[in-house]
């Protein structure tokens, strides 16, 4: 046995911590702690992805898996204020049986996974052989935006569908009766917060753009960049106390930015078809600029969508916001 390679200890420790955190998050009494532990869990999993040579996934996990999901969780906890005790979906005895069957399923799956040799080459040679025609250097971005561009297009459509669904849900709440969707008491106010924002927001925008640009050469890309930009969006929304002015100017702008990614992606796809190649078949010469165009628009779209999802409601007509001004407890 070669001397225990030092990373082994790190991996074992990391894996154990991840499992402990997962269990802790789910069995935690207090919901706020559950959210914080879940964010920690997400960050450590990002670390695990780095260990497994998956930097892109690590970025996505940290930015979206831990960051945005964590923010969403905290925002919902804030809104719901402590969890409602729904009736347990299944009685205890059935829970026990479910536990056993899931454990059985897991052990079987685990043993089968251990027993199966990983596929020798996977798709590495296939990707390597076509990298030169993909127009980018970084393989993951090549796969995401060229080889399996259709998947990514549908992925952006999923996010758009999510916004539409959230707005449909928001429409069901009768605004007059329900508590205001605005986030009371959490506005980022005060001199220090203001200064911080003035410093951090431009930095975030810069880093987001950088991530999108660097995606063509090394880990990064539309989704990771978009998530960072979304962080900037969330911070600015918090700064304004979650109030979205819904004026005639902002609505089309907002709707436009939400659909920008899908529109550009489909537009380029159809243009490629009309130009003779086939849908989403970029001519190799212009592949790079096209991919960058798509990446930029998708990043913007992802940022706008994740912010809209964080706020979770349609922008409120200005009149209704004015009504609320008096009640905001500006801490």
């Amino acid at each position: 046995m070669s001397p225990p390679d030092p990373y082994l200890l790190l991996d074992l420790g990391l894996a154990a911590t991840i499992l402990v955190l997962a269990l802790a998050a789910l069995r935690q009494r207090d919901s706020f702690t559950m959210a914080v532990v879940f964010i920690l869990f997400g960050l450590l999993v990002a670390l695990a992805w780095v260990r497994l040579d998956a930097p892109d996934v690590a970025l996505a996990e940290a930015a979206i898996g831990a960051g945005v999901t964590g923010a969403l969780l905290l925002r919902t906890l804030r809104h719901v204020g402590g969890e409602r005790r729904d009736p347990a979906p299944v009685p205890r005895v059935v829970a026990g049986m479910l536990g056993l069957s899931v454990a059985g399923f897991a052990t079987l799956g685990g043993l089968a996974l251990m027993a199966t040799p990983r596929h020798g080459t996977g798709l590495i040679p296939a990707v390597a052989a076509r990298m030169d025609q993909s127009g980018v250097e970084h393989p993951v971005t090549a796969v995401l935006l060229n080889f399996r561009a259709y998947d990514t297009l549908l992925e952006v459509v999923v996010v758009l569908a999510a916004v539409m669904a959230v707005w449909a849900i928001d429409r069901t709440i009768d605004r007059a009766a329900a508590p205001l969707p605005y986030l009371p008491g959490v506005a980022l106010r005060g001199p220090i917060a203001g200064a911080y924002l003035r410093l951090v927001l431009p930095a975030l925008a810069l880093i987001g753009a950088y991530l999108v640009w660097i995606g063509a050469y090394s880990p990064g890309g539309a989704f990771q960049g978009g998530a960072v930009l979304a962080a900037a969006g969330v911070l600015s929304a918090l700064a304004r106390g979650g109030r979205w002015p819904r004026t005639a100017a902002t609505m089309p702008l907002l709707r436009g930015s939400l659909v920008l990614g899908v529109v550009v992606f489909t537009g380029v796809g159809i243009w490629a078809a009309v130009a003779g190649g086939g849908v989403l078949h970029y001519p190799p010469a212009q592949a790079k600029p096209l991919i960058l165009l798509i990446e930029a628009s998708v990043a913007l779209s992802i940022a706008a969508t994740l912010t809209a999802l964080f706020l979770g409601h349609m922008p409120q007509p200005a009149a209704r916001i004015a009504l609320r001004k008096g009640t905001t407890n500006d801490t």
Partner: protein, 98 residues
């Protein structure tokens, strides 16, 4: 060779500061002291570790990135520390008012 020992020394110092910060978090009596320990010790620890790693492996570009990362973390830590403290003070003051 000697330079490596220097960088390693820096990283070790950084780790010590981290340990101190965590110890402070666990041992200090109330919220404000713990905030104090965290923001101060960990920031410094991070700076030292970043400096050490920059020295050992990083190319100049990477070093610059590490610096930017450190700056952002420091600023964020300070602001969030401040926000938590302010929130706690206000909540604490409301309790008195009741």
């Amino acid at each position: 060779m000697i330079a490596d020992f220097l960088w390693l020394g820096l990283i070790a110092a950084g780790l010590i500061f981290f340990a101190a910060g965590t110890l402070g978090l666990l041992r200090f009596p109330d919220l404000f002291c713990r905030l104090h320990a965290l923001t101060k010790a960990d920031n410094l620890g991070l700076a030292l570790v970043a400096l050490g790693t920059a020295g050992l492996w990083a190319t100049p570009a990477a070093a610059m990135k590490l610096a930017v990362i450190w700056a952002l973390v420091a600023v964020s830590a300070a602001t969030s520390g401040h926000m938590i403290a302010r929130h706690a003070r206000r909540a604490w003051r409301q309790e008195d008012a009741l």
